[in-house]
């Protein structure tokens, strides 16, 4: 595989808080267009690792590039070339659908001439034309989530980081959401996803499982199941994470 195809490439990333090592020697390559599942037990260091990759947190040691920019020296450039969506912070409830899209597009530095057209296109693609001037807080949870995803990807970033994007959503909506992820991936976007739903891990091209600050397993779901002689990703996760020491 050519290095130029890797949109995330980091080596020996370590983050310490005092004498606590949250992330310990993380090395990782993620290819363009890949759906990468980033799993781990609670407290394994997923959030810290993700913050470093997004340019929000400076590694204690280690190096690497995200979207072609250096994570130590060019965090501002990284932020402009990625999208970020989490379940907790995603949209402004009192703003309308279109206002939210416009706002995020502006924040991510899209040219003003494109924003209007793109926002209208996105409303149509989401099937939210009828509600585009309604405040987002009135929408059902599943709609909000799909809208948040669109807001995070309107500026066609190289990578989108999705932090537990489907928590608490009903199964049908969860699937609609994953179809959006598939579509984005087929259009060449890279998706970096954390989730607690292990069936969702099966939808990823490759999955890493983090335990106590280190990546313990990394392969395609099929490869992992073979390696651990397990029938499902749920079993794989249990085998890998059962001896987690951090609580």
């Amino acid at each position: 595989m050519k290095t130029s195809e890797n949109v995330i490439s980091v080596r020996h990333l370590t983050k310490r808080f005092g004498d606590f090592t949250a992330v310990d020697d993380l090395s990782l390559d993620v290819r363009k267009g890949e759906i990468f599942g980033f799993l781990g037990a609670n407290g394994a260091g997923k959030t810290t690792a993700m913050r470093m990759l997004c340019g929000l947190s400076r590694p204690t040691s280690g190096s690497g590039t995200v979207a072609g920019f250096d994570i130590v020296r060019q965090p501002e450039d990284i932020k402009r070339h990625i999208g970020y969506m989490s379940q907790k912070f995603s949209l402004y409830g009192q703003l309308t659908v279109r206002e939210n899209l416009t706002l995020f597009a502006t924040i991510y530095g899209m040219p003003a001439s494109d924003i209007r057209r793109k926002a209208d296109e996105a409303c149509r693609a989401l099937g939210m034309d009828g509600v585009r001037d309604r405040p987002v807080r009135d929408l059902p949870l599943g709609w909000k989530q799909r809208l948040a995803f669109t807001a995070a990807t309107l500026h066609t970033p190289d990578i989108v980081f999705l932090d537990e994007p489907t928590g608490g959503v009903d199964p049908a909506t969860r699937r609609k959401f994953w179809e959006m992820i598939y579509r984005a991936s087929s259009e060449g976007m890279t998706l970096f996803v954390t989730t607690h739903y292990l069936d969702e891990a099966e939808y990823c091209h490759r999955v890493s499982i983090m335990v106590d600050g280190r990546i313990r397993a990394l392969d395609s779901p099929a490869g992992l199941k073979q390696q651990f002689r397990a029938a499902t990703m749920d079993e794989v996760f249990r085998i890998v994470a059962q001896d987690a020491r951090r609580t």
Binding site: L141, D170, P171, W178, E179, Y182, D199, R246
Partner: protein, 304 residues
């Protein structure tokens, strides 16, 4: 078996939105009863009514024969309630939290420690750590210990596994099974459909209505239509292709495969061939057992 919780025609509105509509079910004593549904299904409202924090607009609910609206004072010692978020005092230590909640019920921690000992064992290593500094799994165990410290007859657990990793979740369900052995009746809600199988009986809740109540196995049998699992080298094109096939009622992602809800006339082998002809590699279609999640998708779509 006697039913310990009896709910009849429970309805609750918040302004124009209906949180619960004509909800009726009963929970047998000494069982684990699961309320399965996504966020916004009305689970928390139902819990708040049973925990005597809310009064219903219509309908009745009795717990251990006591009416939740009128006899709430006697009822409160019988209930152990764990709200949606792990409600602890983050600035108090593990021990301080436990002792405080014990004192609310006029008991000492040692009075019923045998009940929580297996749950508390991992926490006992750091009695002086602030609750706010615990991990999600540990907070969950402490919150459960606090809810059990007065030895309630009924445990009301509102989404106790949300945001907790799969290992801790499975461990948690193990603890619930142990508590059931000790005669405690448990009403537990979850938005993780795969947890439904660990309940004795479940109710599927969607937008304030009950879609179905039964044992997990009997409920899944209700799907009716034949169900197949399909896989191929490229999953997304397979999904799009299958949706265009005849006799396919619905097709959606399901773990490593796609689930195909089909009509009786569906021909898996013929479909495989047709898909290969469309250029898809490694196509496999085989029948599978339905899960609660399949049923929920069907019933929820029916509602829409």
């Amino acid at each position: 078996m006697n039913s310990l919780i009896d709910i009849r025609g429970l309805t609750k509105d918040y302004g124009r939105t209906t949180a619960l509509r004509e909800v009726t079910f009963s929970v047998p004593e000494g069982s684990i009863f699961g309320l399965i549904g996504p966020d916004g299904a009305g689970k928390t409202t139902l819990y708040r009514i049973l925990a005597t924090l809310l009064t219903p607009d219509r309908g009745t609910a009795t717990v251990a024969g006591l009416d939740v609206a009128r006899e709430f004072r006697q009822l409160r010692t019988l209930i152990g309630y764990m709200p949606e978020r792990f409600s602890l005092y983050p600035d108090l230590t593990v021990d301080e939290n436990l002792h405080f909640f014990a004192s609310l019920f006029g008991v000492k921690v040692r009075d019923h420690f045998d009940l929580i000992a297996p749950i508390f064992s991992q926490l006992a290593r750091f009695p002086n750590r602030r609750a706010g500094a615990l991990s999600g799994g540990m907070k969950q165990k402490l919150a459960l210990s606090c809810a059990l410290i007065h030895r309630p007859r009924i445990l009301l657990l509102d989404e106790p596994t949300t945001g907790v990793d799969a290992v801790s979740r499975s461990e948690f369900w193990g603890m619930l099974a142990t508590l059931r052995e000790k005669g405690i009746t448990i009403l537990v809600s979850t938005s993780y459909m795969d947890e439904a199988a660990r309940c004795d009986r479940i109710a599927l809740l969607h937008r304030g209505r009950i879609l179905g109540i039964d044992t997990p196995t009997r409920l899944t049998a209700r799907l009716g239509d034949p169900l197949y699992a399909a896989s191929a080298g490229e999953m997304y094109p397979l999904l799009l292709a299958l949706r265009g096939m005849p006799d396919v009622k619905d097709c959606y992602t399901f773990g490593a495969t796609l689930h195909v809800v089909a009509d009786e006339g569906f021909d898996p082998d013929g479909t495989e061939t047709a898909l290969r002809r469309q250029g898809l590699a490694d196509v496999r279609i085989r029948p599978v057992e339905a899960t609660i999640e399949d049923l929920f998708i069907k019933l929820a779509q029916h509602e829409d």
